[in-house]
């Protein structure tokens, strides 16, 4: 469990980082390293070059205002989770983050890194997708913003170009007439979930996002469907598979159970916010 040789760069500026990504073949960006380092040590990944962006200036900003939450690329999960402002402006982010692995991993792992790693079993890609957030990237051809709907292409595959680096993720604030909910079931506390569900409801729509069900984080519109039936309805858009931890039928059952639970939680959350307003 020792990685194969690689060249290591730790640039100080974004320009430097982008230049390295453009010039070095087979380069990979590393932020917190919580997904990449295990892949390297098990030699499941063997990039020729690692561009460590942890020293890049300006990536460690967590900015919260009435519009939403902007998480810089080097902001650790733990810092986002600890922010009372984040919890107030977009509680779904905080609710989901408490399920991300364990404290030691949250201390190093970054929220943006988790999103662009595009693991369909991870919590934060689904949260971004359900909320209709986005990721800002910079690359050889300049800056652009990628909407969550356009970000996740396949298993561990995002739409970032090889020479692009994500600089921040944007989670819109929760509107006054909206509510959210999150739940997942994992084999052990802090494990990747067998199924996880994030929901966002408002006066006109109900959206539910699923992790560990399809190859990409998947959002299903269940507007107008009774929560008790919403999971079954969502299954028409989902293809739960089986693995060593859960059969396909069991995953489908968890979709049914968790969808109902989370939708009810989101509706109650919405009502409680309106009651408080």
């Amino acid at each position: 469990m020792k990685p194969a040789p690689f060249a290591y760069h730790r640039p100080r500026t974004l320009d430097e980082a982008v230049a390295l990504l453009a010039s070095e073949p087979d380069a990979k960006v590393m932020a917190g390293g919580q997904s990449l380092v295990p892949l390297l040590t098990m030699r499941l990944a063997g990039p020729a070059t690692i561009v460590d962006v942890s020293a890049v200036e300006g990536l460690d900003t967590l900015a919260v205002d009435a519009e939403g939450v902007r998480v810089g690329a080097m902001v650790r999960h733990a810092d986002v989770l600890a922010s009372a402002d984040v919890r107030r402006v977009q509680p779904l982010v905080s609710a989901a983050l408490s399920h991300v692995a364990h404290p030691t991993i949250r201390n190093r792992g970054t929220t943006v890194g988790s999103i662009v790693h595009a693991d369909a079993a991870a919590e934060m890609p689904v949260v971004l997708a359900v909320l209709g957030g986005s990721v800002d990237v910079v690359g050889g051809s300049g800056r652009r913003t990628i909407a969550a709907a356009d970000l996740f292409l396949g298993l561990l595959e995002s739409s970032l170009a090889p020479d692009e680096v994500a600089t921040s993720a944007w989670f819109p604030a929760l509107a006054d007439d909206a509510g959210v909910g999150f739940a997942e079931i994992a084999r052990r506390h802090g494990d990747y979930a067998m199924v996880g569900v994030a929901a966002h409801v408002d006066a006109t729509a109900a959206r539910v996002g699923y992790l560990s069900v399809n190859d990409v984080p998947t959002v299903v519109d269940v507007t107008g469907v009774d929560p008790a039936d919403a999971g079954e309805a969502a299954l028409a858009h989902l293809a739960p598979g089986g693995d060593v931890h859960a059969s396909a039928a069991y995953r489908a059952q968890l979709v049914r159970v968790l969808t109902a639970r989370v939708l009810r939680e989101a509706h109650e959350h919405r009502q409680s916010r309106q009651g408080a307003a």
Binding site: M1, K2, A4, R187, V244, A246, S247, Y250, Q253
Partner: protein, 792 residues
Amino acid sequence: MTTKLMGQGVQRVEDDRLLRGQGAYADDLDVGPGLLHAAVVRSPHAHARIVDIDVDAVLDVEGVHAVFTHDDLTGPMADPLPLLIPHPALTHGRTQYALAKDEVNYVGEAVAFIVATDRYVAEDAVGKVRVTYDVLPAVVGIDAARRADRLVHDDVPGNLGARLEQQTGDAPAAVAAAPHRLSLDLDIERSACMPLEGRGTVARWEPALDRLQVWTSTQSSTGVRAAVAVKLGLDLGQVDVITPDVGGGFGVKINHPWPEELLVPYAARALGRPVKFTEDRREHFISSAHERAQVQHVEVGFDDEGRLLGLDVEFWHDHGAYTPYGLIVPIITSTQLLGPYKPGAYRVVFHSLYTNTVIVTPYRGAGRPQGCYAMERTMDAIAAYLGKDRTEVRRVNLIQPDEFPYEHHLVFQDGRPLTYDSGNYPEMLDKIKALVDWDSFPARKAAAAAEGRKLGIGLACYVEGTGVGPYEGAHVHVETTGKVKVATGLTSQGQGHQTVFAQLVADELGCRFSDVEVVTGDTRRMPYAVGTFASRAAVMSGSAIHLAARRAREKALRIAADALEASEDDLQIVDGVVSVKGAPEVSLDLGTISVLSNPLRYAFDEASKRATQFQVGDPGKPPVAEDDEPGLEGRDFYSPERATFASGMHAVIVETDPDTAEIRIVQYAVVHDCGTLINPMIVEGQIHGGVAQGVGGALYERMAYDESGQLLNASFMDFLMPYVSEVPDGIDVDHLETPSPLNPLGIKGAGEAGVIPSAAVFAAAIEDAEGFPITAMPISPSELFELRLAQS
């Protein structure tokens, strides 16, 4: 008189150092300049012939010092590894080579051994070895092994390594004649030890001295020493094996020698440089050992009260690709299955089968969890059939306190009669019922059901033969400083031996606990030893240390009586000082007695002047008497006639989620009898650890092999050892002490006990919650959900 330490919850002396990261494990050892690091090329196939091994691409890699394949091994190193425990029934025993010769039989089998400047370079080189395989069909799982349409070893028909039958009475006839009969088919899957520290070996060859020193993470340093000497063609006296701190064993490190335990010293001698191998976690999954997998069939006949009239058991044991540890695991299953019960007649037949998977050697419990599972599932089935309380069916079958020693007329794992020495099973059953409030559970279950919740309770009982022979020894040496140096040859891997052995020495010798230092597993200090397994350390080395301390005490009293001109009977030893009872000012400390015990020509300090030739001794007699030895020492060995039998009963209450089938532990209770307790805190720690490991085995862990023999979950991401969040918040523990008559302290073993009833007790509780039979363990929420679907 100071308080006896026997029975006191003395704080472990090991922990301060270990918890501060000051332990020194094999990988921490820097044994000299020029240390090289090894990595192993392992088979990616479960079953294949090796056509060619091309190492050319490796030889040019900078930093690579050597590559070994089987062709490079000479002498006994080129022969198969030892079959450690031969048995007449093991008619087709097979062991692997240190490096595969012609054929591989499991994913992970060692094929080539690379030595390089560091492990990074060594792993780079591993990727450059080109092995051409002719892939053969793999035999995976007991069903495939029994079908035998494919063979693991061409010369082992039916994949059958051994078939062993034992019986007492005519069980088939008793079953046939019984008023009631049941049959059960049961499955239990593989798990593994998973110590925090995997295997690791460091070796240094000293050409000037013609000597080899080996440090290895083992449960038997004397065993490794003997194997290394034989395989490398050395005299035993040329080889030292030293066990550094060991980060857990749980059985896997009692199997020896591992290929790397031979290849590391072999390479160190060949290269003239120290060499180190540290197993990584993936290697531990695919190239160490697993255990547990069995398929069982039970036929039982019983009367209206549930008394076992006849018990007829057949099981199929998956021993993996090779049989280095013989038949120990299935023999233990077949004998310890009986637990605290006395069937009218018993027959057991097992088939030990080859599969193209990692070898099976003892894992904490060592076959007992499977036996307990078969017996206790049977007890529950009888109770369900008769509509009786599960504790009452067990009660009518218990061996009674006045029936000890109880002779089962079977042969145990040590080749000796299965004879229980002592116990009190009816009282234990009363205690466990009280601890878990068994009789009020039906009301509690009904109240939960009224809220739509599912609760279930399970009970499982076991008897564990502990402290098997052949022997252990001890050496107790009182230095002239009064410090007491104790050596015993078996090894430690976290049990707290330094603490409990020091308790025993302090009590028997009369020295201060803090003056005792215990060394284990170092062949330089104690070359005669067996090892740490079968819950035997306290029984075997504890007894030996007690006896050795007694010898040191007797000598101290003899010398002191002479020096103080008092009768030995009038002397006492308290806190390291020998004094005349009632006249404490007439005294000598043990350090001074140690000085006096060793007649000196040369004084080296003030105290030692007392022992020099012009100070002491009768000029008319030899300085050391004919029947005496210099020094204040005691040395003794303990070799019991047979094992001593500990026992226990566990109960668990679980709640299963009606929607998600998640299984939550509500309460876990243990009553435990390991004879006279040396240190209740350490015993409870062993129980807690065992229960946690049992929770893993029952609810989380399994070895997920696919049909081609690839292990799909060979990492801690997918092999689910329970976290602290998955084990019970608290474990209710009650003790019972029925001393063993077989050793001077009445001790029975405690190390493995906590894990033995797990599969049985969780199956019982889940069955009670769900209302349908649970016949396969471990069980996950997904599997419980699938069972519900099949029921509906």
